[in-house]
Subunit: 474 residues, 2 copies
């Protein structure tokens, strides 16, 4: 009887699990099925590859297929898992060699997520991209690079779709770009397109950029983007991308703005179609429901990464916050668990950071008042702006901090930070406080770092805690 | 009968207390006695003033005497409190107008600390300084500035000792400098002297710089100082500064090294002589013993700032860690308490950060194994070095993290961080975790920030937690 640890999906969660299991239990057979050719690549780095700040595709790979093999992992690319039978403990796999059954002892679903673009008509035109695959990133960079200026080493990925890249390399580079969606990808792509001197239009359906970050960071990012010449179209619904074969314009809210290329970054959805009919339950978000060890509702079946929900540190409820650290951490924990040492995947706090040109933003926990009330809190927030260094020390920058707490208990629920001087990394202080169920009073009395080059006596985080705590006490 | 809140000492703790009390209880009389002329000045900024990075003395003042008066505080400079009678609730004050008694309702001792230099013979020679007073900082900067290049605005402090400054301004600027002591002041002054192109010799009696930071940051700072041409004399005891009237050489360990100026930064001691015979108890460190509200052993007498002990977040015991935030926070809490709202001063974790040229270091909690064993822990430490950003993203730097934990419980006891890219501020994550009594396992599972420009998927703090936790589990 075969007892392999079978992993579906060769990216962050899947390969973290496979690697950890092999390290802890070297004798166990570990098989990873990946339907595509790319494995272990850094989604978060793609905008910087498109920008040109990251030189080559290979730089974005954490592990090569050879490195994975060296770990003793049986990686099978071009193998798509099309069925799961939890009762028989088998998966059905399709590859160039046809269809086969693979028994498993433990199974990890690490199928990730896919970028949504279908609400936007025309997203399949040439010149339109979602920056969610290595091939798309390679094609877009080739498109942006003037003929003759292309760096042959930039497209060094062994798995890359060379035909697609070559087709874009032959086109005239775009002079203008539309970005549909003002989330992480949208904001980062604005920076990337600007680096190529494009005229950039960013369209966002909500009134604000980066909705999970709340009002204050959104305003600071909007100001920064405008300062860099990006035209913001907020509160604007894009109906379609127009053009014959190639994107020629963005159409929305009665306007038609000519552009030469477009990126659609309006969200991602978990890849769960594989689980239809398996009895593996999904959570309210549509991602796979898991417990504190990453277990699904079926025995010996785990889920981790962008396809799975996890428990939220503040609400205690399951939530879907698909981010890189979460995938790596949960994958690693599952690998350790199936190797024989049950290991919790940890909670998520929704901690996220983003860079928009020189502006840095971070957020963690629950900032949205409606969401806070939904889970039984009575939220109250304060926003302050304070210097990042002692006033007399050069190089400081105004740092905006928002804190949200529960009025009755004083418990910190969430926070955001925006500024240009070491602002984003300060969010870790709040993420750590959330994990320890700190109150705002406790936050106010934290013994944080002070030295003129790094922080004023009262760090902006402490200033915000003082102000919010003052309000809670009255 | 008079019920004023009387404060002894017009610096961070004293004026924080006075200001907070006046804000919360505007009708209460608040009197601050300051024996000198300087009030509310930033000790931590002095090395940067000497360096020339901070332009003027006035930049180092948080509040002007006029600003203090505007708050309704009765500030009396040139008034030294020479006696305290807790039974009679009076203090004895000496000023240019002679001696008088001042009744108090509440009393705050905020007398600060003084720099120690007397173990070094010759520390009273001209050209030798302790960088612990505004006048000394002004004189040293004047000394370092070539005649004719002096910025008249640099010595704009209303209280400055102009005679002293003028005398140093007339001297030939030094070409070489000795720094006696490799703590904060020593390291910061090495940077300051180097900025004036001096040949710098730093003498440190212990084997390592910055002893509270532990081995790894000390080594990285030593390497950085050497890279900038500073000659380190570690494990070297300075016997004396030699010279006729003026410093001409440093003598120690059988060597005589000629230098033109010297800074002695070998430590500070709390100013407590005033309390002899008052029954106000001192703690084991020699600083004033206080409880969680900053109360001393005598009724209605508080102590805060560099003259007072506070409770340590990790050991639960009283400790003396004289730092800026502690003084401000404790002073503010005492001001609120005497205004009618009892407010804890908070614990200290010994969080400190320091900059040495481009190297940033932070430390918090208990790192020293002997100290940890003294308070009943079984310490175990790990040190790792990891990148500060995703490997493919430009601008990252090697970041060294040391974590110490208790073997039995896994509780985090302390940590240090050193590196050149946003390293120091990351110590706040550890300070916050300490305050929440986090274990290393909990630290490992924190949902910290990840984005390529700011952090790799596994932040160096998480990498260290993984490694230490792996050791604790085996």
């Amino acid at each position: 009887m075969s007892d392999p640890f079978v992993v579906v999906g060769g990216d962050a969660a899947g390969l973290s699990a496979a690697s950890k299991c092999k390290r802890e239990a070297p004798e166990r057979e570990v098989i990873v099925f990946e339907k595509g050719q790319w494995v272990s690549y850094a989604h978060c780095g793609m905008p910087y590859y498109v920008k040109g700040e990251v030189e080559s595709l290979n730089d974005l790979l954490s592990l090569s297929p050879e490195g994975i093999a060296d770990r003793g992992i049986d990686l099978r690319r071009g193998h798509e898992v099309v069925g799961v039978d939890p009762a028989a403990r088998t998966v059905t796999v399709e590859s160039g060699n046809g269809r086969s059954e693979q028994p498993y002892g433990d199974l990890l679903i690490a199928t990730g997520a896919h970028a949504v673009s279908d609400p936007i008509d025309g997203a399949d035109l040439a010149g339109a991209f979602t920056v969610h695959s290595m091939d798309a990133a390679a094609a877009l960079r080739a498109f942006l690079t003037p003929p003759g200026a292309a760096d042959p080493d930039a497209v060094d990925g062994e798995a890359v779709d060379r035909e697609l890249v070559a087709a874009y390399a032959e086109r005239d580079p775009p002079a203008s770009a539309a970005i549909v969606g003002g989330g992480y990808v949208g904001v980062e792509m604005a920076e990337a397109f600007s680096a190529h001197d494009l005229d950039v239009h960013l369209f966002q359906r909500p009134e604000r950029l980066l909705p999970p970050f709340g009002e204050a960071p959104a305003e600071r990012v909007a100001e920064t983007l405008r300062d860099h010449g990006v035209t913001l179209h907020l509160d604007t619904e894009v109906e379609r991308l127009a053009g014959e074969d190639t994107v020629e314009a963005v159409v929305g809210d009665g306007e038609r703005i000519p552009v030469d290329t477009a990126v659609v970054g309006i969200g991602i959805r978990p890849n769960t179609a594989l689980l239809d009919g398996t009895g593996i339950e999904l959570g309210h978000s549509g991602a796979i429901a898991t417990d504190e060890y990453g277990r699904t509702s079926r025995e010996n079946v785990y889920a981790a990464g962008d396809c799975a929900e996890m428990r939220h540190a503040v609400t205690g409820e399951s939530d879907w916050v698909p981010l890189g650290l979460t995938a790596n951490r949960a994958g690693r924990a599952v690998g350790q668990t199936v190797a024989g040492t049950p290991t919790p995947v940890g909670d998520i706090a929704g901690t996220a950071v983003v860079k928009a040109f020189e502006m840095e933003c971070g957020r963690t926990g629950i900032l949205d008042h409606e969401r806070a009330r939904d889970v039984g809190f009575d939220p109250v927030s304060e926003t302050i702006t304070a210097g990042s260094r002692s006033g007399y020390y050069p190089g400081g920058a105004e740092t905006t901090v928002t804190l949200t707490a529960d009025r009755g208990t004083g418990r910190l629920l969430g926070g955001s930070i925006a500024g240009e001087d070491r602002a984003a990394i300060r969010i870790d202080t709040l993420a750590t406080a959330l994990d320890g169920d700190a109150t705002v009073g406790e936050l106010e009395r934290l013994d944080l770092a002070y030295a003129p080059p790094f922080s004023p006596v009262w760090d902006p985080v402490l200033v915000a805690a003082k102000v919010l705590n003052g309000r809670l006490e009255n």
